[in-house]
Structures are given as structure tokens and as C-alpha cells.
């Protein structure tokens, strides 16, 4: 039985009067691919942000790997983010005036030192070896998302978080990205948590949980 990499206990997040996440107990095994589904406003993005160290919970406990996230300072959370977590967003969020390689090196810069050779080989791994110097504006949606993937895994994170990464992609690109993620996960053995409202995409995961109004309503094992 794989150890649990994420353990939450009564995790809550509220903004003033609005409670985005009701107390949640969740266990995520190491190396698992977890899909989180729910309509917008159900708190799935909030959950993702908290687990990635981007947001602080209002109450409850959260352990990721060996880190107790509630005990970390702001700078400690930054360290946690850069060493343990890689995030892929729906809108890519690539820096528009930097080339693909430079975008990947940006992640390296905040982690330790930039290393162009390593960035280049990472982009080759995701199949963009011929588009190294292109700006994001010159890349297609699928290519952009692949750069984001390269950027997210360059620092060998233990956790890969995806916030509806295929939301803006067409069907073909979606498949390509998911295939890539599956390959990478087999190689690097990180844990994937993917937020999506697309059933097909969710099916790629090992397990799917459903959130509604901040509450965990259903849990399914995929085959």
C-alpha cells in the first residue's frame, strides 16, 4: 500500500461569509492520479490552490509529503511551492515576452540556477525541440500547454497540479496533452491532481472525487 502523500483533516476555506470549502478529509496516495470534478463555484480550484501552497486554509490540517503546510511561513510556502509543486493552468500564463526556453528557465531561476541545457532537453522531451526560441504568441494552444508542462516538471516536483489544463484546447490537443502527462507520470512518478469539468479528461485518472458547494459528495474509482 503506497504511503499517503497528502493528508487533510477538516480542511476549510472561507472568504468572509462565503464558505468555499467545507471541512474536508482527504487522503491522496503517492503516485496517484486524482481527478476533481464539480461545476464552477464548487470549490475545486480552491482545494487545488490550498494543496499547492498558493492559498492558506482557514482551518483544519494539511500535510503534503513531510511538510505541515499550516506551520509554514509565507517564505516557507514559497520554498514548498518551488521544490514540491508544479502547476498547469487553463490560461497557460506564459510570460509573453520570453521565448519557450526562457519561460522554462524562469522556473529554474526561482528554484535555484537557470540551466539552458536542461531546459532544452525538457522541451525536447515534450516534443517541442523545434520550437525552442518561439514566443508563446507564436505557438498553438497545445504547444503552449506543453511548454507549461515542461515548466511545471523541470524542478522534479512531487506533486503536479492541473487547474483545467485542457479547458481551452481542442480535442486532438487534449488527447496529446493527456498522453504526455501519462508518460511523464510513468517516468517521473509524481502525483497528479487534476481539476476538470470534463468527464473524458477525468477518466484518465485513477480516482475521481466530486465536489459540490465545497463538500465532497462522491468518490469513484476509475478502471
Amino acid at each position: 500500500m503506497a504511503a499517503n502523500i497528502i493528508e487533510t483533516g477538516g480542511l476549510t476555506r472561507s472568504y468572509g461569509d462565503i464558505c468555499a470549502l467545507k471541512p474536508l478529509d482527504l487522503l491522496v496516495a503517492e503516485g496517484e492520479w486524482l481527478s476533481v470534478m464539480g461545476h464552477s463555484g464548487s470549490g475545486k480550484s480552491t482545494l487545488l490552490n490550498i494543496m499547492g501552497g498558493l492559498d492558506r486554509p482557514s482551518a483544519g490540517s494539511l500535510r503534503v509529503g513531510t511538510e505541515d503546510l499550516l506551520a509554514l511561513t509565507e517564505d516557507g510556502l514559497a520554498r514548498f511551492r518551488r521544490e514540491y509543486v508544479g502547476i498547469i493552468f487553463q490560461q497557460h500564463h506564459l510570460v509573453p515576452y520570453l521565448s519557450a526556453v526562457e519561460n522554462v528557465m524562469l522556473a529554474q531561476y526561482f528554484h535555484s540556477v537557470p540551466d539552458e541545457a536542461e531546459a532544452r532537453s525538457a522541451l525536447e522531451r515534450v516534443g517541442l525541440g523545434h520550437r525552442l526560441q518561439n514566443r508563446p504568441g507564436e505557438l498553438s494552444g497545445g504547444e503552449q500547454q506543453r511548454v507549461c508542462i515542461a515548466r511545471a516538471i523541470i524542478n522534479s516536483p512531487k506533486l503536479l497540479l492541473g487547474d483545467e489544463p485542457t479547458g481551452n484546447l481542442d480535442h486532438k490537443s487534449t488527447l496529446m496533452v493527456m498522453e504526455l502527462l501519462k508518460e511523464l507520470r510513468a517516468e517521473e512518478r509524481f502525483t497528479v491532481i487534476m481539476v476538470t469539468h470534463n468527464q473524458e479528461v477525468a477518466a484518465w485518472g485513477d480516482r475521481t472525487i466530486y465536489l459540490d458547494d465545497g463538500v465532497l459528495v462522491r468518490e469513484e474509482r476509475n478502471k
Binding site: L54, I87, Q91, H93, L106, F110
Partner: protein, 363 residues
């Protein structure tokens, strides 16, 4: 755009600095060009001073200043001044009298820089003759003259003639000690001219202080002309200060506005950097470095521009050229950097406090 604003502001500051600095020097030089600014004359003398034209004056009752006393007073007064001692008295020459003036030629060269000697400056045993005087007696450089005082006679060689268009042309100049000896007026002076290095009100005060020490003499100010130059410079400086202040203030607010817009535009970038694990200080440093770099470049551009502006102003207003002063590069860069960093203070704070979740939420 921001670069242009910073460059302009710092260029004006530089120009102001350069203009006032170099012009102050220039005006001070102009002051010197007009010669002495204070004159001490013994009270009861009736020797008319300096408004051109040949005049021997009414030397009926010659009065003198004691040289020793003058030296003492000047030494103890703490005044920084160039001085020139003069003694005027008649000497017999070829059955007539000519007016001889005893001076220290070294002092003369400092205090009267416009003297042009036709020939050479005199050494011991030599004299300088006014050109009119020389013409009247048909004398030329190199000839010997015999001058007689009450008890002594001397033979001196003319080393050169002088033509200034003023009263000097009718006088004979020899060294002060020699004249004092020949005329038997040892240790006496007719006039003392001073070039004191202050201006305006200060000069009046200094004159008054000196006057107190010379009850039997009159200490008066001489020149008027350099006053106008100084007044003009002061006005130009004031104008430039006002303009520069206005420009600096507007540049500062422009910087703030631009930086705020920048932060707003790039908020997603900032959020991304934080999401990738950049600490708040790290991200802040990046943006501050950008602002500082802009400030630096603006400062350099402003310095070059400022030199051009300063040169233009000094050429048109004062008909002089401003000197080359590399120190103002530091001033320009400093002003520009200061503006850049100060103006971006508010925006930088918002960079620091930016919540990545909010900015990445997606618009």
C-alpha cells in the same frame, strides 16, 4: 515613455546645476576683469581718480597713507584681497615735471590684467612710460631717462610703453620702493587698490570695516558693471529652479502612474512568479531592478541632454560656454534614480502584497 520622462526631468536638473555652477565661476572671472573693487584714498588729497582723460589733478596739498599702517590693517583684517599700492608724485624731467607713479609691477599684473606693454615688463632700474608721455617727449623703448627728486637723481631705462586709453598713458611707472627713495617719500602711499573676493552687500560691509581703520582716508567701492551680470545670473537661476521643480514633481507623479499601470498589466506575471515559488522579496527585487535600470538609463540620457541644454542657455544668455563637468553625470543619474524608485514605491508595495490566487484566477 517612462524613460523619456525620467530623462527629461534629470536633464533639467543637470542643466540647472551646470549652468549655475559654471556661470558662477564665469561671473567671478568677469568681476576680476574689471579690476579693483575697493579704493583707499587719503582724505585731504585732491587727486581725481579714474574717469578717463588726462589729468594731473590738483596736487596742491598732497596727503599720504602710511604704508606700514596699511599693511598692518590689511594683514589683521582677515580680508582675502589682491592689493596694489600706488604712490604718485612729480619728478623733474628735462626742466619740467612729469607725474610718476610708483607701483609694484607684480601686483599690477594681477590687478590690472588689461595692461598691454609695448616692450617688456620692467626689472630693477627700469620704468614703463605712458604712450602719450613718450610721444610728447619723443622717447622710445630702450632709452635712458634722468629723473630728479628733491635730493636725488636717478637714471632709468625705459623697458616699454603702455597704452590703455586711460590716465595711465600720461604717467611714468617705476617700482614703488625706487620712487619712494628718489622722492624722499619713504613708506608713503597715495592710493591703495584692493580686489576683494566677495560681492554685493558683503563688499559694502567689508568697505565699512576697513573704513573704521582709516580715519584719515576714504574707502570706496568702484565697479558697478559686474553687478548686472550677477543679477542676471540670479534671475536665470531662479527661473530654472522653478521650472525644474515643476518638471520634477510632474515627472514623479508620471512615474507613479506608469508604474501602477505596469503592475496592473503584469499582475498575472507577478502571480505566476509567486506561484512558481518566487518569494515576495525576490519578485519585488526583480521589479525594483527594472525601475532602477530605467532610472539609470534615464539619468545617462538626461545628462547628455542636460549638457546640451546648459550649453544652449549659456551661449544665448551669457555668450559664454559652460565648462565640462563630469560630476553632473552623478547628479543626473542620482536624480533620475531617486525619482524612479520613489515614484514606484506605491506600485512596489502592491507587488509585494499581490495575492497570486486572485491574479491567476483568470480573466
Amino acid at each position: 515613455m517612462l524613460l523619456a520622462v525620467l530623462a527629461m526631468a534629470s536633464s533639467l536638473a543637470t542643466a540647472l546645476g551646470i549652468v549655475s555652477f559654471s556661470m558662477e565661476k564665469r561671473v567671478a572671472e568677469e568681476v576680476r576683469k574689471y579690476g579693483a573693487n575697493l579704493v583707499i584714498i587719503p582724505e585731504t588729497a585732491r587727486i581725481t581718480v579714474g574717469s578717463g582723460g588726462l589729468n594731473f589733478g590738483e596736487i596742491s596739498e598732497p596727503a599720504y597713507l602710511e604704508q606700514r599702517r596699511v599693511e598692518e590693517v590689511l594683514a589683521h583684517s582677515g580680508l582675502k584681497a589682491e592689493e596694489s599700492f600706488h604712490l604718485r608724485c612729480p619728478l623733474r624731467f628735462r626742466n619740467g615735471d612729469i607725474v610718476a607713479e610708483g607701483v609694484d609691477f607684480v601686483e599690477i599684473r594681477r590687478l590690472f590684467p588689461w595692461w598691454q606693454i609695448n616692450g617688456a615688463w620692467p626689472t630693477a632700474g627700469e620704468v614703463v612710460m605712458g604712450s602719450d608721455l613718450a610721444a610728447r617727449y619723443g622717447l622710445k623703448t630702450g632709452e635712458m631717462v634722468e629723473l630728479a627728486g628733491p635730493d636725488q637723481t636717478v637714471h632709468l631705462r625705459i623697458s616699454g610703453t603702455i597704452a590703455t586709453g586711460g590716465e595711465e598713458d600720461g604717467l611714468l611707472f617705476l617700482s614703488l620702493p625706487e620712487l619712494q627713495q628718489v622722492s624722499g617719500l619713504g613708506g608713503r602711499l597715495s592710493t591703495v587698490r584692493l580686489l576683494v573676493t566677495t560681492e554685493g552687500e558683503n563688499l559694502r560691509q567689508k568697505a565699512a570695516t576697513l573704513q573704521a581703520h582709516f580715519p584719515g582716508a576714504k574707502v570706496s567701492e568702484v565697479r558697478q558693471i559686474a553687478r548686472t551680470s550677477e543679477g542676471l545670473l540670479a534671475k536665470v537661476k531662479l527661473l530654472m529652479v522653478l521650472v525644474t521643480a515643476v518638471v520634477l514633481i510632474s515627472a514623479g507623479s508620471s512615474v507613479t502612474g506608469t508604474m501602477s499601470t505596469t503592475v496592473l498589466e503584469r499582475s498575472r506575471e507577478i502571480g505566476l512568479m509567486k506561484a512558481m515559488g518566487g518569494t515576495r522579496w525576490g519578485v519585488l527585487l526583480i521589479f525594483s531592478a527594472e525601475a532602477a535600470l530605467l532610472g539609470l538609463l534615464g539619468g545617462v540620457a538626461g545628462y547628455l541632454l542636460g549638457i546640451a541644454i546648459a550649453q544652449f542657455i549659456t551661449k544665448t544668455v551669457f555668450a559664454a560656454s559652460s565648462g565640462f563637468s563630469p560630476w553632473f553625470a552623478a547628479v543626473s543619474v542620482g536624480v533620475s534614480l531617486f525619482l524612479a524608485l520613489l515614484g514606484s514605491l506605491g506600485p512596489m508595495i502592491s507587488v509585494f502584497k499581490l495575492d497570486p490566487v486572485r491574479s491567476l484566477r483568470g480573466e
